[in-house]
């Protein structure tokens, strides 16, 4: 085993890349859950975003258009979820599962002609001397724009929830939809918007995997990241900055086990590959004692009876 091949600077830089899909999906789901909706279809929206982004990027040659299409694809699929849960008043859990099963099939269908192709690369941000700084440069200033966008979205969501009137309304709807309805807020409209935002974020996260992290298309390539994102929201106690910390933690685990595989550690590859999932379970166990911060109306169906 040769651990000297693992460069800590590159490790940190690559864990930020590994964490970004998770971060994007989880921050979107956080907003959805803050509005009182439990969307278990994150995996389906991510994989749909991954393929719509990939397809558009390959066809147009522009990764930016790809990401735009990914957000649109994720939001479109989440609109189906909104239709089911907000209009047809269907069970959130079952609808989310349906979304994931449907999304996995749909992405495989669209993706069948895109196997083995290479998407256009997205240029990394180049800040000249800043990027050339030792240690700090590659970690802070040497990434692609979407990675920074992810962090910016976290900051924006935090500010929105904490300082704005819209954030207050969103939280009110999530905590107690009957009270919010009685105050005259449009519960369904706010929830639909939150769901669409969550879908767009999940789509971006999926496209980050297919366009930047991997970058190619294979069926089911999100491999459970959407589910880990759901766990991450619980882990973060529905707080935006903790989502960031949690995403980097999971990103670190993923990158570390990949590095250990490459370094030829004496643990079989399969056991290393299962480690992110096992750690997710362990973290869930440790943090599940405290449920007090969960939105009060999470996953409950709202029907305004008059």
């Amino acid at each position: 085993m040769d651990l000297s091949g693992i460069n800590p600077v590159l490790l940190i830089a690559s864990l930020m890349v590994a964490a970004t899909p998770l971060l994007l999906a989880a921050i979107g789901e956080l907003v959805v859950e803050k509005a009182g909706v439990l969307n278990l279809g994150v995996e389906g929206m991510m994989i749909t975003g991954a393929i719509s982004g990939f397809a558009v990027a390959v066809e147009t040659g522009s990764p930016w258009l790809g990401f735009l299409a990914a957000a649109a694809g994720g939001a479109l699929l989440s609109a189906l979820f909104a239709l089911l849960t907000q209009v047809a008043l269907a069970n959130h859990v079952a609808s989310g599962l349906a979304l994931t099963l449907f999304g996995l099939g749909l992405s495989a269908l669209i993706g069948q002609s895109y196997g083995g192709q290479k998407p256009p690369a997205m240029a990394k941000i180049d800040l000249g001397p800043l990027t050339d700084l030792p240690v700090v440069g590659p970690i802070l200033f040497g990434h692609d724009p979407i990675l920074y966008l992810g962090i910016a979205i976290v900051a924006a969501v935090w500010a929105l929830l904490k300082f704005t009137r819209l954030g207050l309304i969103l939280r009110a709807v999530g905590e107690n939809h009957e009270a919010a309805h009685a105050l005259g807020y449009k519960v369904v409209r706010i929830r639909v918007l939150a769901i669409l935002f969550g879908g767009a974020c999940a789509g971006l996260g999926g496209a980050y995997i297919s366009l930047i992290r991997v970058p190619q298309w294979t069926d089911g390539m999100t491999a459970g990241v959407g589910w880990i994102a759901l766990a991450l929201v619980v882990f973060a106690s529905w707080k935006p900055w903790r989502v960031l910390a949690g995403a980097y933690l999971f990103g670190g685990v993923t990158v570390l086990q990949l590095n250990l595989q490459a370094a030829g550690i004496a643990i079989p590859v399969e056991y290393l590959s299962m480690s992110p999932y096992v750690i997710t379970v362990i973290v869930l166990v440790i943090l599940s004692r405290d449920k007090s911060s969960a939105p009060g109306s999470l996953g409950r169906i709202f029907h305004a009876s008059s």
Partner: protein, 359 residues
Amino acid sequence: MIRLEKRPQPSRAWSMATPVLAVIATMVFGGLLFAALGKNPFQSIETIFWEPLFGEFSFYYRPQLLVKGAPLVLIAIGLSLGFRAGIWNIGAEGQYIMGAIAGAGVGLAFYPLDAWYVFPLMVIAGALGGWAWAMLPALLKVKFGTNEILVSLMLVYVAEQLLASMSLGLLKNPEGFGFPGSRNLNDYAAGNSWIAQDIGLHWGVAAALIAVIFAYVLLNRHMAGFQIRLSGEAPRAARFAGVNPTRLILLCLGLAGALAGMAGLFEVSGPAGQVSIDFNVGYGFTAIIVAFLGRLHPVGILLAAALMALTYIGGEIAQGNLGLPAAAIQVFQGMLLFFLLALDLLTNYRLRRTVTEGN
């Protein structure tokens, strides 16, 4: 304007009708999808739903119906008990894999001993394997309140890695010239699940029928079944009636795991034959659709599984004859669940036209 009015009780008639309507809606929209893919929609639908049953080669496809339907019934019956009680085990795929590994492991350990007790031991091991895998989310939920949806799902990925490890390592065929995968259990008379291979009959089919009867009796004639239904329909009332949630979680997840594990064992020792990396084909997830389509009712699940098995087989035929992509069938199955959930609105609510009051 149309207004929704909650029914005092879910309508029984609509509850029966919505699955049928969902299937019809799926056929229509599935046909549109196939047309968008450049296939003749009518021919595609006919190939999927008619060809396996009454087509030219139906003598070959009909037995497949049993082979594909049996694991779906077994898994969906187990899942339906939990779903009824509001316990969401969505990791049946993992329990199915672990049952297959445990059961096949026992069988391979006895190889080449020819004794009557080998297969029963394999079945028990399979059930225990699935049960143990389901006990992880169950115990974590009971002890720490951990969300069983996420844990059971995470364990699917862990089980898939274990499967890869097993078929490349511990259970690899020592005479397999280094190829991944275990010995083929179809070559081991004492350790395979076939009763009559030419009509698709294996012990899993028998077990599936027993499971349907068992679940029906449990839900309608037994206290535990009543408690399951009560917890799902009126959680508050269930608490007052002294239903022990811990016991219920352990029971529902345990039964689901054991049934999924058995399904895995029957599959690995019959139709699949060997433990291999890609042995699982997603029955554990399709069974979720089956459970809902069957209205979480044992008899309904039997019918829904038959329909789902039909789409699998018909999908394969359409793949060969019409070049319909395999993923199109997956979309088709997903669509079915969408329509079912959407149409369920009619079961629980009345649509009323409201007269806008002028003021």
